[in-house]
């Protein structure tokens, strides 16, 4: 322990001065690394001055791995071994990916996360992402001249536990210590300093290369909460290039082109699109392999007409997001633009008109997410003063477990700030029960089957006791990255079992949003379904108890009494399968009444047994 001296007020020295930490935007199309230098967040470029690293990994013939532009060049020649947009496969099973026939990869489906067979062997999306992260880590270490303390890595707000865990695993594989996973829209908001802004509601409009996301955030007491996320996973800046490309084909009376020409024209289309942000017209020239000469002028006006419906397509998810969150456009205090495609003036206009305010766009929209992540990393690494406490994140969906009858018991409600830990006590359902299955689920619905299953484990070695006597304490703990560990402990014997949630991979992108919507839409149904399940569970419990009692003490009953009870049981069994809680309740009560006398006699009998052979005087003592 070092010995300290007293400092002048406010002059305490920081130990180990500046600690190197970065923010990483691990994107579908491009990735980027940024850091805070002299108090300002800046993107780190490679030796050639390029900031963006295309998220492309190629396993080359000579056994090496190339990442970024080099890999991009190999894409058309060697599509099987060149992995693009690997982010779409992170934490996903083959079934989740959808139409794989359009993808050139050789997928390996062994349950769990999908794998890709490449020249270098079978690779998981985690390994492929790790290659990208490794390049960014080396770039950062070269630029900063030291080893990184850690990084904040951004993920889409809709990423579930499986996808987040996969991202964390990729970082670990790349030798990066993950300080925190941060939601992309939250990172963008931080870059604009909105974490220091007035409390309120903010929209983040993120139009990337191939995906569109809209997120609504609420800032309160320094905590960003994602209220709603929506989007279109098949809409991005590339679609704008595609429109220009089609326009070129039409203008020049061309039909299907060889791949080389397609690529050439697409890249010329992209150049034109970018020029039209600054200029009123752009000239597109190219010489095709067949000798045809392309020379067209595209005006900004024409471009806008060509792509207007793409812009319109982004408005629909915005309306949906507002509706999900129960908000009005006028509630939104600020709009943040993310993604290179948002530079296009007609997008700025459309978004501005939609929200009735000028969107924030003075930061580079390609870099804003990484810049925000870097600011957060800087805080987490401890490079800022004591007064700046950590920004918190919240849980997007409730976490709970399955109780008898397939009902969900929520342990940690959604929107709880993380890290957090909650515990609840449960008990056994049957006499002499020695094991209990703990089924961890995520979601808002009342029935387990409507929620997402995260993990299952069994607590064994519970000492046999009557039903309801055991006390089993289940603790849920969520770390700062939104990852969950669950522990169950039987209190009298101390047996304990725990699990770190390695989620069963496979939740669709839109699922979180959908799950939230469903829970609102089905609230009424769910309440009814819950009531039904509760009655059914109670009925099962009663039937079992009566059954057991009959097996032991049927002799205590007269023929017709036994008949009434059996009749009541049969009736209850029949009603149980119908979906009518009230009827079940009625049958339950009937059976209960029919067995009251029986229970009384059994009680008397056991008292007699207990008393047999004892004198009254003995009992009085």
């Amino acid at each position: 322990m070092a010995l300290l001296q007293i400092s002048e007020p406010g002059m305490s020295t920081a130990p180990h001065q500046h600690r190197l930490a970065v923010g990483i935007d691990l994107g579908t199309t491009n990735s980027l690394v940024a850091t805070v230098r002299n108090g300002i967040s800046v993107a780190l470029n490679d030796q050639d001055g390029r900031g963006m690293l295309p998220s492309v990994v190629c396993y080359t013939a000579d056994g090496s791995v190339s990442v970024g532009e080099a890999a991009q060049h190999a894409q058309s020649a060697d599509p099987i071994n060149t992995i693009v947009s690997v982010k779409r496969f992170m934490g996903r099973g083959l079934r989740d990916i959808g139409d794989i026939s359009r993808l050139p990869y050789r997928f390996v489906d062994e349950g769990g996360m999908v794998q890709l067979r490449t020249r270098a062997g079978v690779k998981s999306p985690v390994e492929v992402s790790a290659e990208i992260l490794r390049v960014l880590r080396h770039r950062a270490e070269a630029a900063l001249g030291g080893e990184l303390v850690g990084a904040v890595i951004t993920v889409p707000a809709y990423f579930d536990d499986a996808q987040r865990q996969a991202t964390k695993d990729a970082a670990r594989l790349a030798g990066i210590n993950v300080l925190r996973l941060l939601n992309e829209p939250t990172a963008a908001a931080i870059a604009y300093g909105l974490d220091n802004a007035a409390e309120g509601l903010y929209a983040v409009y993120d139009l990337g290369g191939g995906t569109f996301d809209i997120s609504l955030l609420r800032l309160s007491r320094g905590v960003f909460e994602v209220l709603a996320a929506n989007g279109d996973s098949a809409l991005g800046g590339d679609d704008f290039d595609q429109r220009v490309y089609c326009w070129l084909l039409e203008k020049n009376n061309l039909s299907a082109l060889p791949p080389r020409d397609t690529r050439l024209l697409l890249s010329q289309a992209r150049v034109a699109k970018e020029q039209l942000t600054e200029h009123d017209e752009a000239r597109i020239t190219a010489v095709l392999s067949g000798g045809e000469i392309i020379d067209n002028v595209l005006t900004r006006r024409e471009f806008q007409d060509l792509t207007q419906n793409l812009v319109q397509r982004t408005l629909q998810p915005m309306r949906r997001a507002l509706r999900d969150a129960g908000l009005d456009k006028a509630d939104i205090k600020g709009v943040v633009m993310v993604g290179g495609a948002t530079r296009m003036p007609h997008i700025q206009q459309a978004v501005g008109a939609f929200f009735g305010q000028t969107p924030l766009n003075n930061l580079d929209p390609d870099k804003v997410v990484a810049l925000g992540a870097a600011i957060q990393a800087n805080v987490l690494a401890g490079n800022r003063g004591a007064d700046e406490w950590l920004l918190l994140d919240v849980l997007p969906l409730s976490l709970g477990l399955e109780t008898m009858g397939g009902l969900t018991e929520k342990i940690i409600p959604r929107n709880t700030t993380i890290p957090t830990a909650r515990a609840q006590e449960f008990t056994t359902f049957r006499d002499g029960q020695t094991a209990m299955s703990v089924h961890v689920v995520q979601g808002e619905r009342e029935l387990v089957e409507d929620c997402r299953s995260l993990a299952k484990f069994e607590l064994r070695g519970i000492p046999p006791m009557v039903a309801g006597a055991a006390r089993i304490r289940v603790t849920f703990q969520v770390d700062a990255d939104g990852l969950l560990s669950v522990a169950a402990r039987e209190m009298s014997s101390g047996v304990e079992q725990s699990i770190v949630v390695k989620p069963s991979y496979g939740l669709l992108d839109e699922e979180i949003t959908r799950m939230l919507q469903d829970s609102a839409q089905h609230a009424q149904d769910d309440m009814r379904a819950r009531a039904l399940r509760e009655q059914q569970t109670e009925a099962a419990q009663l039937l079992e108890a009566v059954e057991q009692a009959l097996a032991q003490d049927a002799a205590l009953l007269r023929e017709e009494e036994a008949g009434t009870i059996r009749q009541g049981m049969a009736n209850l069994r029949e009603v149980m399968t119908q979906h009518e809680p009230v009827a079940i309740r009625r049958a339950l009560e009937t059976l209960n009444r029919a067995t009251t006398e029986f229970a009384q006699r059994r009680m008397d009998q056991s008292v007699q047994h207990a008393l047999a052979g004892h004198k009254i005087s003995e009992l009085e003592e």
Binding site: A2, L4, I6, E8, P9, P15, R19, W389, L390
Partner: protein, 107 residues
């Protein structure tokens, strides 16, 4: 909720304040810094006030800001000589981990 100074530590604090010529007490706190997450802050205090909590130990007024208190509650501040070096030492019951040099810690 206590923060205490050993007699020796208190004597040195009073000496330092006397030598400095001004100051009404000692501020102890933590901040997010250093390789293990938190670092101690040990400063003179020239003015009282704010929402600081005050403790008196062996004649020294100790001020702690409410955010720091949970991390150092129950702590004893000692003054020790180790070889040629002498200075204040924190005996903090909340610490779970600290880095090699001991300037930074985790709770």
């Amino acid at each position: 909720m206590t923060i205490t100074l050993t007699e020796k530590a208190a004597k040195h604090v009073l000496n330092f304040i006397a030598k400095r010529g001004k100051g009404v007490g000692l501020r102890i706190g933590v901040r997010t810094s250093g390789c293990s997450g938190m670092a101690y802050k040990l400063e003179f205090v020239d003015a009282l006030g704010g929402d600081d909590l005050e403790f008196d130990s062996n004649g020294v007024k100790v001020l702690v800001d409410p955010q720091s208190l949970p991390y150092i509650d129950g702590m004893e501040l000692d003054f020790v000589r180790e070889g040629l070096n002498e200075g204040f030492k924190f005996n903090n019951p909340n610490v779970k981990n600290q880095c090699g040099c001991g300037e930074s810690f985790q709770v």
